[in-house]
């Protein structure tokens, strides 16, 4: 029974499979020239100027963060002192940690381009250098938080949606609990409770971020579990785990790409907001938000101290929003070609 019959049987060609019919069928697949997958998305982002600009900013931001981050890790590994030139300062116009009271509170100017384009702070450090130096933390925050939230949410949400019953109820109430609490307050609490500092803040953000994705994947699983191919798979003896991994998860991922892009911007904004309040800040590391809050004391005479980091935050967040929004339009079907 089974395969041997299919293989062993002398293949009598049914009337339907005439040469003409086969030829006609193969000719209809003439849409090969339509780009699929990543190229398709890229193509549509490029058609919208703001989204395109946003994408460029994102690429520069992430690219620079990657390189700078690696260099900083290398520097600390080699136990180099942050006060002097080290690997971390290779790409920067000046040392962001070294005190230099002679150059304190200088307004933005084109002197020593690009060192002073954002002016200097109270300790004489170039704000531009400090902003660049802090980039890896924000980039890593956005990628790690969103990435982990997707990962956790994917398994929890899909399982809950597909299996239903108790698993579903438990997950729903759990996410309800997390979503009911005000995010910022919760983040502060968790972060402080586990010791404060950068990694603690990331953990705190992850805790408040994952429920949204879990819900999202659950909704997808609820829709997909009724699809023909899932039921056929069930009939063919697939275990629920196999169905989840092979059929449901891969087909759930598409719509969240756009949302995740938007979300990365939101993470950066939240991170900066908390840094503004002093949460998650390690001494000596010039977080964007924290710089801005430091600069408030000197506002409005030395306006650049507070405004400049804020502008950078805004630029990066807007870039993610533009690109993500455009992707969202595409996936949500709001754009017609």
């Amino acid at each position: 029974m089974g395969l041997s019959d299919v293989l062993g049987r002398r293949r009598r060609r049914p009337v339907m499979a005439t040469e003409a019919a086969i030829e006609a069928e193969t000719k209809t697949s003439e849409t090969e020239d339509v780009k699929q997958g990543a190229r398709f998305y890229l193509d549509y982002i490029m058609k919208d100027k703001p989204a395109f600009a946003g994408t460029i900013v994102i690429v520069v931001f992430l690219g620079f963060a990657l390189v700078e981050g690696v260099l900083q890790q290398l520097a600390s590994y080699m136990k180099q002192s942050p006060q002097n030139s080290n690997y971390g300062t290779l790409l920067l116009p000046s040392n962001p940690i070294k005190l230099s009271f002679a150059t304190k509170l200088l307004p933005p100017s084109l002197n020593d381009f690009p060192n002073y384009i954002m002016g200097t702070n109270f300790q004489g450090q170039s704000i531009f250098s400090r902003v660049l130096y802090a980039t890896p933390h924000d980039a890593m925050a956005s990628i790690l938080v969103v990435g982990s939230a997707i990962f956790i949410g994917m398994f929890v949400g899909t399982a809950a949606g597909y299996l239903g019953g108790w698993a579903d109820e438990v997950m729903m109430r759990l996410t309800d609990a997390f979503l009911a609490l005000p995010a910022i307050v919760l983040a502060i609490t968790i972060s402080v409770l586990i010791g404060g500092g950068y990694t603690s803040l990331l953990v705190a953000l992850l805790v408040i971020w994952w429920p949204t994705y879990a819900r999202f994947f659950r909704a997808q699983a609820l829709t997909l579990r009724n699809k023909g191919y899932v039921e056929a798979s069930k009939l063919n003896g697939s275990s629920w785990l196999r169905i989840l991994v092979k059929h449901i998860i891969p087909n759930s991922v598409d719509p969240i790409i756009a949302y995740a892009t938007l979300d990365m911007g939101t993470v950066i904004l939240t991170f900066a907001t908390l840094a503004f309040l002093g949460i998650g800040v390690t001494s000596g590391y010039p977080e964007w938000g924290f710089e801005s809050s430091q600069g408030l004391q000197f506002f409005p005479q030395q306006w650049w101290y507070s405004i400049m980091p804020g502008l950078v935050i805004a630029l990066v967040v807007v870039a993610f929003t533009l690109a993500g929004d455009r992707l969202q339009d595409l996936i949500g079907g709001r754009i017609t070609y």
Partner: protein, 319 residues
């Protein structure tokens, strides 16, 4: 008569109309039930094509899903070659059953290659990749698709082609029973006829048995050996297709036939009224509010299927 391939006995499937919450359960409030399949006895012989005909809400899809083991019965039994369907026999029985769904756009995983789709039924059998490839090629040829399609994805195929892939997936493990739920309803007329012809060829070639669910009586007439009409969760008439569709006895089957527009009759003669809600069924015969031959007993008692010549009819007109 030989033992039927599939037999249902007093099969019932009731759905809860609303989700009962914790409070309602506390007060033992019984949620209203949708009586989708109500006490159905049907048998399918090996090698035959049984058509299940009816309109939406009559329960034919639910009955099909019950027989396909995709739903579990509220009460009653289903026997496969004499063996009862239970939790322990489920896995074994499922190996002999396959299903083809109505919607060609949702029955194939959009992310899988056609080859992966058609060989999925073979996954647990331990075949090597090359054997699976060969089998995929053979089965695709059987349904009239060139081997070129094996590497494509569903989005590159038309509706008719996708249905053929669905059929290929259903026959690759040579199941005993294939349940087809409106397989051609979503296809264009010219493609429909291709797929129907194909199904007949395959039945011949692989000695399959079909449970063919459709609302289209003409299609049922064309493809089936035996037919059963369903109304409001019950089978009202069952027998050889020539008789059930050619010379229907039950008033509903007659009404159904008179409602089908055809090139032979210029006007249609539909029945009055509408299909009843499965939550609030009429007392007695479920068709009686619409029946032109209604009698006193019809309003009191629901008739059971009785043998009248070669067919089974559930109607008080036939004692």
């Amino acid at each position: 008569m030989a033992e039927p391939l599939v037999e249902t006995r007093a099969l019932k499937k009731y759905f809860k109309a609303t989700k009962a919450g914790a409070l309602e359960a506390l007060f033992h409030h019984r949620a209203p039930e949708v009586k989708a399949v109500d006490d159905v006895n049907v048998a399918i012989q090996e090698g035959e094509i049984l058509a299940l005909v009816g309109e939406s809400g009559c329960g034919k899809t639910t009955l099909g899903r019950l027989i396909a083991t995709l739903e579990s019965p509220t009460s009653g039994d289903i026997l496969y070659s004499g063996e009862k369907l239970t939790k322990s026999t489920l896995r074994r029985i499922r190996k002999e059953i396959q299903i083809v769904f109505q919607n060609p756009f949702e029955s194939l995983d959009p992310r899988a290659t056609i080859q992966a789709v058609v060989t999925e039924p073979l996954q647990k059998l331990g075949y090597s990749r090359s054997v699976k490839e060969a089998a995929a090629e053979r089965v695709l040829a059987s349904v009239g698709l060139d081997a070129y399609f094996a590497e494509r994805r569903p989005r590159d195929l038309s509706g008719g082609q996708r249905q053929r892939v669905a059929v290929a997936r259903a026959i690759i493990s040579t199941p005993k029973l294939v349940i087809l739920d409106e397989p051609t309803s979503a296809l264009d007329a010219s493609v429909q006829s291709q797929v129907l012809n194909l199904l007949l060829d395959l039945r011949q070639e692989f000695n399959l048995t079909y449970l063919f669910i459709t609302h289209n009586i003409a299609v049922a007439r064309f493809i089936s050996d035996r037919a059963a009409t369903m109304y409001a969760g019950e089978i009202v008439e069952m027998g050889p297709t020539k008789q059930v569709i050619g010379e229907p006895k039950h008033p509903y089957t007659q009404a159904l036939l008179r409602s089908v527009p055809s090139l032979e009759t210029k006007e249609v003669a539909p029945p009055s009224g509408e299909v009843p809600s499965l939550i609030n069924l009429p007392k007695g015969c479920r068709y009686h509010p619409r029946c032109p031959f209604v009698m006193a007993i019809c309003k009191e008692e629901d008739p059971k299927l009785r043998r009248v010549g070669d067919v089974l009819v559930a109607c008080w007109l036939f004692k």
